[in-house]
């Protein structure tokens, strides 16, 4: 295992990850209790409230299982503790991988390539963390003021907002795959076959069952990887 990955998997980091993950659990428990109280105040029954909870739990099982594969992938790249921490908080592997890679670029090396050592990894971590803080601080500070902001942003056309975020996504990921495609090697095949299999899988999910959708990303990731290993 590379030097920096050994550091990334050290015990102290597992402990830190544990603390961060606990905050999520504590928050969920606090909101559970607040909602039980507030719900009864506005006329909901205890049974209804508990039902809401258990339906949520059951609906979560599929998507949560799908995350397992992605976790394995992420852990080989950024180490166990960081993957655990970042997927419990923020929770989006594509975002974390993007930030980690941009960290490497800011440092001046290829992500995971030559010259990527502990210092480069520190920059990757910094980038992931400061990116996550963007959402945490913004929502933490203005969470309760979002409605008027939404009206301003939509500018009277509510349908523009999803297009705005969709196009920004295409922009960001276009940049990322651009770099990978230009390598003309393994990464290019990973991109191509990752994209093709994702498209096929989503189409299948739409024709058969919506519950299949959360698994698409994990499976597409594996397919992309396999072709990259074979052809790269």
């Amino acid at each position: 295992m590379a030097d920096y990955l050994q550091v990334a998997n050290e015990f102290g980091l597992w402990l830190i990850a544990l603390v961060v993950v606990s905050i999520c659990v504590i928050q969920a428990i606090l909101y559970y209790r607040q909602c039980m109280k507030a719900g009864k105040e506005i006329g909901l029954t205890e049974d209804q409230l508990k039902e809401g909870f258990w339906v949520g739990a059951k609906t979560a099982i599929g998507p949560a299982a799908a995350i397992f594969i992605i976790m394995v992938g992420l852990m080989t790249v950024i180490g166990g503790p960081m993957a655990w921490m970042r997927l419990a908080v923020i929770g989006a592997a594509p975002t974390e991988l993007t930030a980690a890679r941009l960290g490497a670029e800011g440092y001046g090396v290829a992500f995971g390539g030559e010259g990527y050592g502990i210092e480069a990894m520190a920059v990757s971590w910094w980038t992931m963390i400061i990116n996550g803080i963007g959402w945490l601080v913004l929502v933490g500070l203005i969470g309760d003021k979002l409605e008027p902001v939404r009206e301003k942003l939509a500018g009277g056309q509510a349908s523009w907002l999803p297009v705005l975020s969709g196009s920004a996504m295409i922009g960001v990921f276009g940049y990322l795959i651009g770099g990978d495609v230009l390598t003309l090697e393994g990464p290019m095949y990973a991109v191509i076959f990752g994209a093709i299999s994702m498209i096929i899988l989503i189409k299948i999910a739409e024709k058969t069952s919506e519950t299949f959708k959360p698994y698409c990303l994990g499976i597409a990731m594996i397919v992309g990887m396999i072709f990259a290993i074979l052809l790269g």
Binding site: Q34, A38, L44, V55, V89, I90, R101, V163, G178
Partner: protein, 227 residues
């Protein structure tokens, strides 16, 4: 008059305590997420170099800055106040929190946007947080063991190709929804990175805002194709 009391009551019993918990947990978490860097310094004496750190912050802000605002604003109406705080702490919003909120509301039989709806959505989301944390924790420990026994070529494959495969998959996913934009994103990227050999920050800015700008033009002319 009854209405005023009910609104004040809702504020007292739900909005105010929810905001308090939300603000504290999110800001504390923001601080705590920095501790890995502290660990690297204390245990290994390594600190990210300042100029590299600022450069990469700029890159990542160019990539995701818009989302810090657009995402909370887009999802707020469905998630509600507590749901928003929880979902932005724990993530996985569109594939996990939204479906759990919606299903909980549907099964219990409350309307979204109502107070009952918001409470039930929150119950569903808090359940999803617990379930997901269990899954992620299991994956962290079982997954590490699995990685330990996989052949090296596979582990290397994971390490080298997880990122591009995921990036390609996400690109494919959004291309389906916005067919006309698909060539634009990668087109601008190939132009700036491959042909102009532009610095990263310039390429990102053009990719993100270029695609958004073209999307706006297409949106105004109603020609955004896809699903």
């Amino acid at each position: 008059m009854n209405n005023m009391n009910a609104e004040e009551r809702w504020n007292e019993v739900y909005l105010k305590p929810v905001k308090k918990v939300g603000m504290i947990t999110l800001l504390v978490a923001a601080g705590l997420t920095l501790t890995p860097l502290l660990y690297l310094y204390v245990a290994h004496g390594v600190v990210p170099p300042f100029d590299a750190a600022m450069r990469s912050w700029g890159l990542v802000a160019a990539a995701f800055g818009a989302f810090y605002i657009v995402e909370p604003v887009s999802y707020y109406a469905i998630l509600g106040l507590a749901g928003t705080y929880m979902s932005f702490l724990s993530g996985n919003i569109s594939n996990l929190r939204l479906p759990c909120a919606a299903m909980a509301q549907e099964v219990v039989g409350v309307t979204e946007g109502s107070q009952e709806g918001e409470i039930i959505a929150t119950m569903g989301i808090s359940a999803s947080v617990i379930v997901n944390i269990i899954a992620v924790t299991l994956a962290a420990f079982v997954g590490m063991a699995v990685i330990g026994i996989l052949p090296e070529v596979i582990v290397d494959g994971f390490r080298d190709y997880t990122a591009p495969a995921i990036f390609g998959a996400v690109y494919g996913q959004f291309s389906l929804r916005y067919l006309h934009l698909a060539p634009i994103g990668i087109g601008i990227a190939l132009l700036f990175i491959g042909v102009f050999q532009a610095p990263a920050w310039l390429s990102i800015l053009f990719c993100v805002f270029g695609t958004m700008g073209i999307a706006r033009l297409m949106f105004n002319k109603d020609i955004l194709g896809g699903e």
